[in-house]
């Protein structure tokens, strides 16, 4: 059966990364989860070890590696069983905005810091009153005296506490069409009028920083416009494909980890004085989950290849995002049931995954939004 075409270099990279995570991340994860926070320093460590922004070209100090490296980072991060160090968001979702739309001067200014971990990035789209409905956003960006003045609130911003740089979507109030009014701006932490709110407490992803961001007469230079004025909507849509693909990959990786752990548990745990895997019902449950994951992985692999070849796979990516995130939650629920009473406790590692994976059907566009996109592509 086919897998992704990993080369020796990919495998060596994976093994180095695994080593890094084993020594620098995994031992601290339980503490970070308790703290509801990761230390700022771990971003720098990861950057300096060469595991952030692997796709940034060498001319900006990056490694210029292909998307499979991003897949590997995503999978290996999932194995650490925490979501705090949200590297894929920084490396493969936010930084690509700068890479794709930034002026040379912007790239030179920010990319090296993004790569070495000095700069942590976030993207700010969602607002308290506009979740899935991006067109209804109300944060404004007005040109006044050669500056851009920003007013509005953003919410559910991942990396919202640590971020040094925010890619902000805001509307020019003078432009009527909501689709042509949105532009993207780079806002640096510390800019007067830009304030980070308290952390949002969540069901899972507890070590991960999600926050509201407040912009109150926040003035930034005109040069902080990212790409064409009024192109924000299209820019966002284009970048969502990779984001959703990564979310799907992460969901399947988490499901894989949960299932593997559960298989191992059932091999050893006793029920009626026998290993649980002697129970036919348990065997079938494990078989069904293994099958779903194998089937989903085949689709995902095709999709990764098509994405790397720059095919338009908007519909398929939306399919993967919704299907994989639902399946991952099903797997999570079934694994907990199989493990039984032991899984009532947070000591059981798959409990944290069960909590963390719940967001996957919601973020990067809810699954309902995914289905709308697919319906359009089917011309329904």
């Amino acid at each position: 059966m086919k897998t992704l075409p990993y080369t020796e270099s990919h495998l060596a990279f994976r093994s180095r990364l695994r080593q890094f995570l084993k020594s620098e991340v995994t031992p601290h994860v339980d503490q970070w989860e308790k703290d509801h926070m990761i230390p700022r320093e771990i971003w720098r460590k990861m950057g300096r070890a060469g595991f952030l922004c692997t796709s940034v070209p060498e001319e900006y100090g990056g490694l210029g590696l292909d998307f499979l490296y991003s897949v590997i980072v995503n999978q290996e991060m999932a194995r650490t069983n925490h979501a705090g160090l949200m590297a894929y968001l920084h490396s493969d979702i936010v930084v690509p905005y700068i890479l794709s739309y930034g002026l040379e001067v912007q790239k030179k200014k920010y990319l090296p810091g993004c790569i070495n971990g000095d700069i942590v990035t976030a993207v700010a789209m969602t607002e308290p009153d506009s979740g899935s409905d991006l067109a209804s956003m109300s944060t404004s960006a007005e040109e006044i005296d050669g500056q851009v003045v920003i007013n509005g609130n953003k919410t559910f911003i991942s990396n919202g506490f640590h971020c040094d740089l925010v890619i902000l979507a805001a509307k020019d109030p003078l432009v009527k069409s909501p689709h042509k009014a949105v532009s993207l701006y780079i806002v640096e932490d510390g800019t007067p009028g830009f304030k980070k709110g308290n952390l949002i407490e969540k069901m899972g992803m507890r070590s991960q920083d999600t926050a509201e961001l407040f912009f109150n007469d926040c003035r930034i230079p005109k040069d902080n416009l990212l790409g064409q004025k009024g192109a924000g909507f299209v820019q966002l849509m284009k970048k969502l494909q990779q984001e959703r693909l990564l979310v799907a990959i992460l969901a399947v990786s988490m499901a894989r980890n949960m299932l593997d752990w559960t298989v191992e548990y059932c091999r050893h745990a006793l029920q009626n004085q026998e290993p649980m895997t002697k129970s036919q019902a348990t065997r079938f449950a494990l078989v069904e989950m293994e099958t779903e994951l194998k089937v989903g992985t085949a689709f995902l692999n095709d999709l990764v290849m098509a994405h790397m070849e720059n095919e338009d796979v908007t519909a398929e990516t939306s399919m993967a995002k919704y299907w994989c995130s639902e399946k991952a939650n099903e797997v999570a629920n079934r694994c907990l049931e199989l493990v039984g009473r032991k899984s009532a406790s947070e000591d059981c590692p798959i409990v944290r995954m069960w909590r963390d994976v719940r967001i996957h059907t919601i973020f990067a566009g809810t699954n309902e939004i995914m289905k709308n996109i697919i319906a359009k592509s089917m011309k329904l």
Binding site: E337, R341, A344
Partner: protein, 381 residues
């Protein structure tokens, strides 16, 4: 046959509703969840008003009513708040053991304390005859004499952190073999010889602190020796499954109510979320699932009250209601979108509490084993 609640049952429902509305506080509930705090004051008020032990005999200060009334209260409580409601109702759970196996003295002394909110109870899940033996019964009395001293570990004690009465059935060994004779210890974390183990950090039901007890030469002075009858064990099982089902039912309803309020309030793409057909259908399916579980649970409770011996119905009600609770609260999170994932909007707590209720009710496969055993009966070659 009448298939609706009578006046007195509706009055009890209403009283429970008023109580929960007045006494359950969202902030307190979230704090209870985060820090694992038992809602001491609310619990004792609930007991004072007769919400604990309503299905137990009046002569021991119970309410003299039935399982159905007990189910109704539990459902209303967790509809209002899954964490607080479950904690309060579970604090009375061990009375089932005392009613079945206690001596008359024990009943007279202990049951009023439980029903009147003076003592909280806990249950060692390993001691429940529920077929939940994936960890095995880790605790046995190795001596058949009246004054045996017991050493061992008691895992998974629900409400063990706060409980003052934890009944444990100890099966006796004779000549190295387990017998069907047992005695019931009544422990608490402060009993001499007992060390409370680490508190489990639960994924849900966190106002109900689960812990383990380490026993070292615990004297069993309360011992009276008896052989539990199948019938008695079944009654305990039945009461346990019904209570868990009712708590799950309310948890589902509570999540549903919160989601309904949200979609009727929030707009996207220029209309209320509740105006979208797929959201309407999601709600309809959730309501249908809840209604089915409710009907089954009420009927199962009613059967238990009419003294029908039916091993399957309470298990089925439990399977249905806990599944419903998990699925409905899962979908409720979805209906709230990003808000649903935050602790502030409570539906994620419903989901965690629902999952905890499901897991602590017993291993799904073992519950299904019980149902199918009842269905198939003995097979002949």
């Amino acid at each position: 046959m009448t298939y609706s609640l009578d006046k007195s049952q509706k009055a009890i429902q209403k009283a429970a509703f008023e109580f929960a509305k007045g006494e359950f506080d969202g902030d307190a509930a979230r704090e209870s969840d985060q820090k694992g705090i038992f809602p001491e004051v609310t619990w004792s008020k609930a007991a004072e008003l007769g919400f604990i032990g309503i299905h137990h005999p009046e002569k021991y200060s119970g309410g003299g009513l039935g399982h159905l009334e007990h189910v109704l209260i539990a459902e209303v409580f967790t509809t209002s708040d899954s964490t607080l409601g479950a904690a309060i109702m579970l604090a009375g759970l061990a009375s089932e053991w005392i009613v079945q196996f206690g001596t008359d003295t024990q009943k007279k002394m202990l049951l009023p304390e439980i029903y009147e909110g003076r003592k909280k109870t806990g249950i060692a899940l390993d001691g429940i005859p529920l077929g939940n033996n994936d960890d095995g019964v880790s605790f046995k009395n190795e001596n058949s004499s009246d004054h045996s001293l017991i050493t061992g570990e008691l895992k998974h004690v629900i409400n063990g952190k706060d409980a003052e009465i934890v009944p444990v059935l100890c099966y006796h060994f004779e000549g190295g073999r387990l017998t069907d004779k047992c005695s019931m210890l009544l422990l608490d974390g402060k009993s001499p010889g007992i060390t409370m183990g680490k508190e489990y950090s639960l994924l849900g039901l966190r106002a109900t602190g689960m812990t383990s007890y380490f026993l070292k030469n615990v004297g069993s002075n309360h011992i009276h020796i008896f052989t539990p009858k199948d019938n008695q064990l079944l009654k305990i099982q039945s009461a346990f499954y019904l209570l868990m089902a009712a708590l799950a039912l309310g948890t589902a309803q509570g999540a549903f109510d919160r989601a309904m309020a949200h979609v009727k309030d929030r707009e996207q793409f220029g209309k209320k979320l509740a105006g979208f057909q797929v959201i309407q259908h999601k709600l309809a399916r959730m309501a249908l699932q809840i209604e089915q579980s409710r009907c089954l649970t009420y009927i199962a409770a009613n059967h238990a009250d009419s003294k029908k011996v039916d091993t399957k119905m309470p298990v089925m009600a439990n399977l249905a209601a806990t599944k419903t609770a998990v699925e409905v609260s899962y979908e409720s999170i979805q209906l709230l979108g990003g808000y649903g994932y935050t602790t502030e909007y409570d539906v994620e707590r419903c989901y965690r509490d629902a999952k905890a209720l499901q897991i602590l009710s017993g291993h799904e496969h073992e519950l299904l084993d019980q149902v199918s055993a009842g269905l198939i009966g003995r097979l002949h070659k």
